[in-house]
Every structure is written in structure tokens, then in C-alpha cells.
Amino acid sequence: MKPAPISDRLLRPILDAFLYGITVQNASGDLVYMNQAAAQLMGFSSQKTPLRKGADGVRSGFLMYDAEGNHFPADRLPGRLVIKTHTPHTATIRFRKPPSTKDHWTLVTAVPVFTGDTLEGVVNVLHDYTKHARSDALHKQVQEHENTLRMALDVANMGVWDWEIPGNTFSWSDGTKPRRSLTRGNKQGTFRQFLNHIHVKDREAVRRVILDAGKKRGKFEAEFRIPGRGKSHRWMLKRGEILTDKKGRPARMIGVGMDSTRQKKMEAELAEGNRKFRAVFNSTNVAMFITDTRLRILESNTAASRLFFPSLRSLSRLGVPEEVSTLNGDNELIITTKEGVTKTLEYRVHPSFLPGKHLFVFHDITSRADEDQRREHLLGIASHELRTPLASIKAFIALLKRKYLKKEYEGMTAYIEKIDETSDSVVRLVNDFLDIARIRENRLELYREQIDLNTLVRELAADLQLTIPTHTLHVRGTISTPVEADRQRISQVLINIIKNAVKYSPDADSVIIRLSDRNGSPRISIRDFGIGIEKSEQKKIFRMYYKVHAKSHKRIYGLGAGLFIARTIMERHNGSIKIQSKPGEGSTFHIDLPISSKP
């Protein structure tokens, strides 16, 4: 039995009552019917308007996308495909009807209607699931965010708190237990109850901070204690922000809290360490500076400001070399204090004791230096008194030589020579003592005159050669400019260096003295082929009382102050003395004088 056909008049109200949109196209694709839901969905004001040829309901101006958000071309509409293929089609289409900015998520199903074998038309069913699509996606997104955040908070040992102001519902967590929800702490109550949870001493301060932030609608930060068992407590650091409602009234205060107990403890330890350091730093009478690598002073202690000018900005000003790696061990420095007192300081550097920072420690050794100076002064006086007797000794030795340096007194000759050599050593000692005393008391004065170094050096070498049988002194090169210098003092330096060169090259047979113009300034270089000096020792040899420890050598008379005196003499000339040396290959001493040394 065929069911009785339902009349058109009866069908239409039934279709209009449907929640799904239903449209009918004829075999040419013309839209011939749509129910109320379809008209509403596609934005038609009446069901009759669009019934025209070729229009399958898709109005120009429709924006259509597929589920992924790509453009959806009209020829892929299920209705059109059904007409082409005579088989049902379905598609998810997101469309928008400008000027509206709302997207409609629609599932479109199109089925062919046949009469016998002939395609009569197409029935489209449109299911608008926008609401579900939206809430599903949003929900999923929110959930994902929440999970990530919750994990992050748990890892960071942070808690959340949330105060819904109109309802005065406060929820918080102390950041120590994992939470089930992001916006819900594991404790709940009113604002007052939240405050009661805080250490009584911090309560009022926290209340004020939060209420102030509420009034100002701003962000805030509060740190407070939460009492634990017994006398212990934990520190919490809370940061929050006020959210306002549509009318701008504070509606909600939301934020995160962090257990800062450990941080607080570390801060306290750090502060204690710092206090201890400060106490030591400032109470010691050892002057200390912390500088950057350019020796600019970053910090100085009380002793340092007592000793030095407070205006001191950089240690370079005191003559401390920037190349601190050269400053191993103790170094000496003479300064004049703000009271005008001359002080002798000994200093040490701890390079890079903090990244990019040096620590300098200065000891005032003035009293020790004063003692040295007194001793040297006495030695100076004693030496002075020795001069006349020594002159007598030399005179009588000369007389002895005249009488007894003859064949018949052969045995005597050696003794006389020994006495002569020994008296020469005493003379050198006396001269060194006197020079040191002069340097210490700043009495080493220069008597400058114009000197032709070519002549001076050649004459001096010729004189010295008479007393040096073991080595040949070769003088090479020339210096083109005369200098203003103390003839006697420069000679003293040269004699010292040349004699050293001979002394420390026992297996060699020559010493080369080279004269040159170095960048226009006179330079005298004295090269030996002897034992040489280790790099680490090279700086020290110009210090007072230094002596090269050569085991293979017999003890050499002298103070070991010769190079110290030589250095001082050169410095007074505004010149310098430098050494280049390699152990086993010998040494070269460069004596540099400025073109015109002015007093």
C-alpha cells in the first residue's frame, strides 16, 4: 500500500516547525523552497525573496570556509554536487554574512529526489551547530591552558588566590599542595578569614595593601608570614591585580602567591654574610679597594679612606699597573697622605676575586720602612766615615805595589792584589750604601751636562776593558743626538751593567754594547751570552737587595742593590732600564734616555 500523499498545504507548516533548515532545489539547481529555519540561517527576511533562477540560496557576499578555515568554493556545495553526480553529498561549511562578524558552523546534507530515473530535484538539510562548536573549542582550549598553568604553578611552588569582591568569596592556597582547579585554592572563606590566616604581625599591612590596590584598581605585592607549627612560620609572597566589572567597579582580585620561605632564608643568610664582610671590611686597619679591571675604584673601606684621598677614583693614579698579572706577591708604593705625610705601603692584589673585579689590600709599612731608613741613614753616616780611611788604605796599597810588585817579592804580589781587590769591594759597598741613603732621603741629585754618548760609551768601554781580561767589549752603532745627563751617574749605570754582563756570562768571551736611536731616542743595549734570567725573576732584579742565585757561582760581594740604584738613576733622568732575557741564552739590558731630559 502506498501511503496517501500529504498535501502541500499540510507539509509546509510541518517543515517550518523543524529546527533544521530545509531547502529544495529543482534539477537545474534553482532554489524553489526553504523553510523558516533555513531562511533565518541564511539571513533572508522572507521565505519568498530569493526564489529565482540559478540561485541555490548562496547569496553573493557570503563568505564560506571549510572547517580548517580555508575558502569554500560554491561549486563544491553539496546541492551542486548532487545535481552533477546524482548521489547524496555532505559538507561542513562555516559561513558569514557580512556585515555580521559571526560565523555559522553548518553541516549541509544534500540528497537527490528522483521520479523514476529522472532527477526531480535536491533536498538540503542544514544543521546549524555554531553554539556547540564554539563552546566545545573554547572549553577544550581553556582546559588545556588551565592544565599547563596548574603544572607550572605546582612546579614553581606557587599558589593562586581569588577574591570575588561583590560576594566576598575568598579562595586561596598556600602554594604547598597541588590544586585541582586553577581558580580555586584549597581554602575558602571571606576576606576576613583570609586575613586571619596571616601572621598577626603582618595582617594589617597586607589588608592595607590589598584595599589600597582595590581603590586604585592597580597591581600590588605583599609579603607576609603564615604561622606554622610552634614558632615556625612560612613566608608568602603574593602578587595580584584588580579586575573591574563593566562599570569599572572592582569586581575581582586575582593573583598568585609564592612560598618565599627559602628565598627569605637565603636573603637573610646573604645579608648576614654581607654584614660580616662589611664589619671586617670596615673595622680592619688594612686598606682595601675593590676595583674593576681598569682599576677604577668601586668600593673602598674605612681604612682606605683614612689613608688615601677620598677623591681617589682609580688606583692607576697611584702608579699601580693595570696589568695586574705582573703583580705577584708584595709590591711597594710610596704615597703622600691627605695630611701630607709620606707613607710606605705594601700591597697585594687578588685578581678577579669576583668576575671583573680585583681586590687590593694595602698594608702601611711606614714604620718598618722608617726603621729601614734609619738603618740606612746610619749606614750612610758610617759609610761616610769610612771614606777617608779607605782613601788611606788605597794610598798605602798603591805604595806597597810600587815597592813590592817586583820579581824578588813574587809571593807578596798575590797578597797585595787580594788586599786591593777586597778594598775595592769595600769601596763599592760604601758607595752603594751612600747611594741608597741618598735615594731613600731623596738626595740623589743629577748634575746634567750635554753628553755625546758615542764618546762616553767608547771611552768607558776602553777603560773597563783594561780591568776585564776574560771578555772583549764590542761597541757598535751610533747615537745621533746628544743628551742632557749626569755623566758620572750614567757611567755608573753602564759600568754596573757591563760588569754584571761579564760576571753572569763566565763561559762567554764577549759582551756587545750597541748604540742606537730608538724612535729617535738614544738607547744603549748591553748584551751578554750568559746564564740569563727567568721571566718571573726579571721584574725583581731591579728591586733593592736582590741577588741572582747562581749556584755555580762563588759568592759575589755587594749589596745586590746595583740594579736598584741603576734603575733609580735612569728614572731620575726620565729614562728607563729594561731587561730582555732567556735562561741559558743570556740577557740584554736596554738603557733608554729621553731626547732632552729636563730636570
Partner: protein
Amino acid sequence: MKKRIYLVEDDEVLSEGLVLLLRDEGYDVTSFTDASEMAVSNDDPPDCYILDYWLPEDDGMRIAQRLRQNKKTKNIPIVMISASQAALQSGENLSSIDAFFAKPFPIRSFLSAIKHLTG
């Protein structure tokens, strides 16, 4: 004829040594321990004076200046010997002397300087 030298040196030992050396070199040496003993207005002055810078009563530099002011002695060479370099350091006018030796000096150069000055 032997060259004549006046030596003024208060240290007797040094004085003796220098006198012996100079005599050995062929000089006629007269020594004094004090300048006052030396007759400055001597009508017959020596060929060279050797003066100690520091003397008990007077200092060598003042004696040298007096000798320079005297017509008869103003051209006679003067050699100064001194235990200190103060004479040099004080920046005093050294034009009145011909040679300066700081004690203890090398005998060889001392003697050659005197030989040169009296030659």
C-alpha cells in the same frame, strides 16, 4: 827642578800616604793639617794645591776662593779631595777649583790629574 805641592789634609794617615806617593812620583810635597798653617801670602807659592774640602778650622772651598783672589796664587791649579759629595751637591761655584776627587779615589787617576795640572 822638582814641582812643589802643598797638601792640606787633616787626616794624618791619609796625608802621610799621599805625601809618600807624591814624593815617589818626584814631587816636592809640603803637608799641613790646617789651612792656617799654610802661608797663603807666601812669596814663593807651590805649583799645585791639594785641599781637603772639610777642614777643622776652615773649609777647602773658602781657601780655594782666597787663593783665587791673591794675585800670586790665582793661576795655581787646585785639586779638591772630599769625603762627601756635598761640594758637588750644594751647587757651589766650582770654577775656583781645577779637579775634584771624592774619597776613596782611584790613585792612578788622582796622580795623572796632578801630573797633567803641573805639567
